[in-house]
Symmetry: D3
Subunit: 128 residues, 6 copies
């Protein structure tokens, strides 16, 4: 008897684990990048170092949340309707990488705009 | 000359890294718990196992986001105004632990209600 | 037949995974913070940077170990007997955050004292 | 005097940290997926559970290594020369997700083929 | 002017970050393994699954803490005095791996004995 | 009925999860260390800080991949044939630690040589 059988699931697998996705996860981390950049100049040397360490982590989290959204949520039908979807994600994750290299708030603002464009598409597909 | 001096910061440290907090981070993970529990019964055995693994991670993330909010965002003035703040966080993080032990959707729903109560306090302090 | 049934456990869930908690986990990381701060001034610039990176991680680990102890180990009966338990954990985790912002050894010493106060309560509840 | 100034770097930022990328990182994890699937049936129940846990992690690592390669290594010139690059990465990371849902070795073999197609493009761009 | 110069440190590098090591870190995780194994039979199916997931993590943490101790704390003089040091660490980390494969408490007890033997050597070198 | 029985596996446990090991994992991270060190001098201050942060992570990954290879792949028969195996791994992981403390490329080159010596032994045991 095989207690944990190797069954090919008949259920739509993209429904597991939960169907819960939200571009807010990437946005919150990107807002954090903007906050760090806005405060950077006013910090003492010790906290400037810390700001760079934390900025590195936050930018990586933006990338991660965007990658998950791109691979796990969006499907071929979405792509057909939004043919620049791949490019939007590629450029947004590249911009998150830019935020690692820069301290100018406009870099984080640019990232936020790119995430918002993705969010608009996301919510349009959810309502569809 | 000391390039990275050991200066006592005169800046309010809670202003670093970014001042960005959002109870939505905990809520999204808790919604994921609810999604997993709602689908659990309809999954094949292999994906049931996976659901338990993922549920464990999501519940831990709920705890983490709540702990950060409690320790890093809230301050003594908030506590004076909301004296049951500690207890609300303690019970909500304990409830996230309950969701590790259970598969009944009402456990995740109870957690969501507790997070929402915290979110109401959070947003009230932001507007104040 | 339901191989992995959705049973409400009759066992006290706080007994899983293992019942093993030890404030020493937080203390060892806090000792590490003190060690870093004590050596900071004698380090060259490259290792000063590294010290800040490592200090950030250790302080986060102190927080994590304290949070787990607070949420997972302590129960309502403990709280009734030690009504300032919430406040002790809140202040200790906030002090771990202070150690991220500071390089003065007395900040880590203050943290160690706070952890020791929690440890005394912990061991008293274990013997009870 | 500003010790850690907010300078716009004149150096090509894609040159940091190191210029070292290798599709072998994704491939090794995918081989691990195949190894797990090939042995799954011969394992006892306890190790079957463990296999599912480990498979989940390995598949996530495949995704991560592919995402990094896509965002950090490839640039607009590469994309112009290989216009299906986005699609190849999207489908390969989706297939890594499939390997979480399945236990049939052919799913990992399919993933390996997709990684190899990406590796061919990668090495062609390195020689160019 | 080179603010962050590439100086060869004249300080004993093993003194950074902190000089704080403690075999208690590995021991606490191993006690957790024993706790899980002792309770395993009395758990319902859902928590049995959880126990395997948690056991996997705890065993990995034992390995990690032992590896750090072996590489970072012990030095050539220690090795000369305790020539079986390498073998003791190798066998202890392998035994932590065994605990991933097994559910019998004696496997965790064997691991605890091996950690204690290492701890005796550790404390002897600290006093020397 | 015991659905997830506590069976002593009769299968060689070292065959799980997958039998896939490859010293390339450690080598790629060490190449990254070399890349970082080679570029360090040409970076602006902000990216110099980032380089130290990333170097710290890469060196830790080298250690991790070597530790896993040492504990999980190599067995007593290998050790009998290559009696200096323990020492080679100890010194290589210590050298990875050195790369955290240094910025001179020769430190990473020394590490690469040590990894290559291990790789030669590894591949000899695979062919045997």
């Amino acid at each position: 008897m095989n207690l944990l059988p190797r069954i090919k699931p008949v259920y739509a697998h993209c429904d597991l684990p939960c169907g819960v996705y939200d571009p807010a996860q990437a946005r919150i981390e990107a807002e954090s990048l903007l906050g760090i950049m806005n405060k950077y100049e006013s910090l003492d040397e010790h906290n400037k170092l810390r700001a760079v360490i934390i900025k590195e982590e936050r930018a990586e989290l933006v990338k991660h949340h965007l990658w998950v959204l791109w691979t796990d949520y969006f499907n071929p039908e979405h792509l057909e309707k939004y043919p620049d979807l791949h490019d939007k994600f590629w450029k947004a994750t590249k911009q998150a990488g830019e935020c690692k290299h820069h301290l100018e708030p406009q870099e984080a603002e640019k990232l936020l705009t790119m995430i918002d464009e993705i969010a608009i598409i996301f919510w349009a597909t959810k309502k569809a």
